[in-house]
Symmetry: C2
Subunit: 317 residues, 2 copies
Amino acid sequence: MGWQPAVPVEDARRVACIGAGVIGGGWAALFLARGLDVTVWDPSDGAEESVRRAVDLAWPSLTELGLAAGAAQDRLAFAPSLAEAVADAHFVQESAPERLDLKRRVLADLDRAAAPGVVIASSTSGYGATEMTVEAQGTPERLVVGHPFNPPYLIPLVEVAGGERTAAAALEWAGGFYRRAGKFVLSLAHEVPGFVGNRLQEALWREALHMLATGEASVMEIDAAIREGPGLRWALMGPCLTFHLAGGDGGMAYMLDHFGPALEAPWTRLAAPPLTDALRERLVTGCDDESAGQPVADLVRRRDAQLVALLKARAGR
Amino acid sequence: MGWQPAVPVEDARRVACIGAGVIGGGWAALFLARGLDVTVWDPSDGAEESVRRAVDLAWPSLTELGLAAGAAQDRLAFAPSLAEAVADAHFVQESAPERLDLKRRVLADLDRAAAPGVVIASSTSGYGATEMTVEAQGTPERLVVGHPFNPPYLIPLVEVAGGERTAAAALEWAGGFYRRAGKFVLSLAHEVPGFVGNRLQEALWREALHMLATGEASVMEIDAAIREGPGLRWALMGPCLTFHLAGGDGGMAYMLDHFGPALEAPWTRLAAPPLTDALRERLVTGCDDESAGQPVADLVRRRDAQLVALLKARAGR
């Protein structure tokens, strides 16, 4: 039989948010806006006040995007202990501070306290489910990673990943639950440190830190370079399809032939992998698949229309 | 006296675009939309047809953003030689293929052909002005980098940088000219391979290539992870200010204390620099300066309003 969920995704009405910093508070706001009951636990002083303030701050945006029927800020409650917070929860989102020892302890506590059919997802930015759940003794099959991006109530992406002991059914349930909450779910087939989004973000961030440390660029220059440059394209189509369009009618294949040599150039501190035929093929085929064979000129038209909309939307800044 | 521009920025009416691929064609579209006369030279077969098609494709977007008085596609001309293209130009934009030997040769040819008071800017993605202009014998003081991001007619950023022989007045002229053409100009104080935008983009891109090569992620997963995740925030405020907001009321200082240890984690193949007190201070002060001392809660409100607008603008995709 294996692990079975306590309730089907569509019957999940009560969520526990464990840890109420920027991420935990953001999750609480999202789940409330989706019409769910949310119970928060956080041992720090002033956590309740800070979550209420975070939800207040998020509410106008969530309202503008559309609240679910019955959504209300007063469906937010606070529990005096971890165990009481998860006692009748249908789903648990853990957002404790990003320390492996702490994550291990909290996840083991949650695993002990929550009913076995309840999925417990960690907001960790990069630890793997396997390493985070070594202390869990109860039902580790339902322990998953559910990694959001700040603010969780507006940025669509959640990366869902399991560990060696995670049940496929728990991953599926988590994905279904997040999708129902309006998220874009990336279900990861591999357990990679930092997952996908954070690995990419972290490479950029570390290059930025090096540039700051050496004085090659300032905070303001780094932010402007991304905000007025590649950031705009990435928000529309990500890095691969962006370069597919930079290749003109020849797409990614042309782009790789044109810019392949630049991979040898010292344009970042990170060395590139060799551009083998297999890697080239994977990129070219991947872009063709992603664009469903649409000609580059059509993609350019769509990108440009969206860039115009984005530039107009930003213009009030 | 030093180098002097042939005309003030506001009198520059004729532009030569050398090289008519995706970038050169995109520049031509932008300059035409700004009401300038554009002469293109490119030795490849079919270059004229392909530029006309690129301008056609870009025109609806440029029209929606607002054409300058007198802007017209029929102010586009083609020259039979490099020398004729630049003969009466007030500004030259070089967008030859990205090979150092070729850039050197073309820039030396342009330097010979264009009047000494004319600024010649290279669209290079990362070569430095010093290394690109070693063969220029005429007036190397006016040779600069003017690095755009595709598509140059919509993405605001242009990175302007000089080399050892570049005159400050030429850099200033180039910056003024691009700003007049509606671009966001980042004037770089240091000659760094890849400049700022491409160093950051390239770090992310190389991490993506590694993940593809090892099978850690697919093209579609990489694109979704950025497009539905950090890409959205970067389009609004860049990576540093994004993390400043992730720190809650404590801002960047809190964020570094919270996520500093993650810099040791293997969340990318690029090792981070040590998070020294000096680097920490540079980040914290940089974010305070960039946000002009606005409280994080105010920045969150602004970010969220813009994210909502961005998500709505994208929703047609």
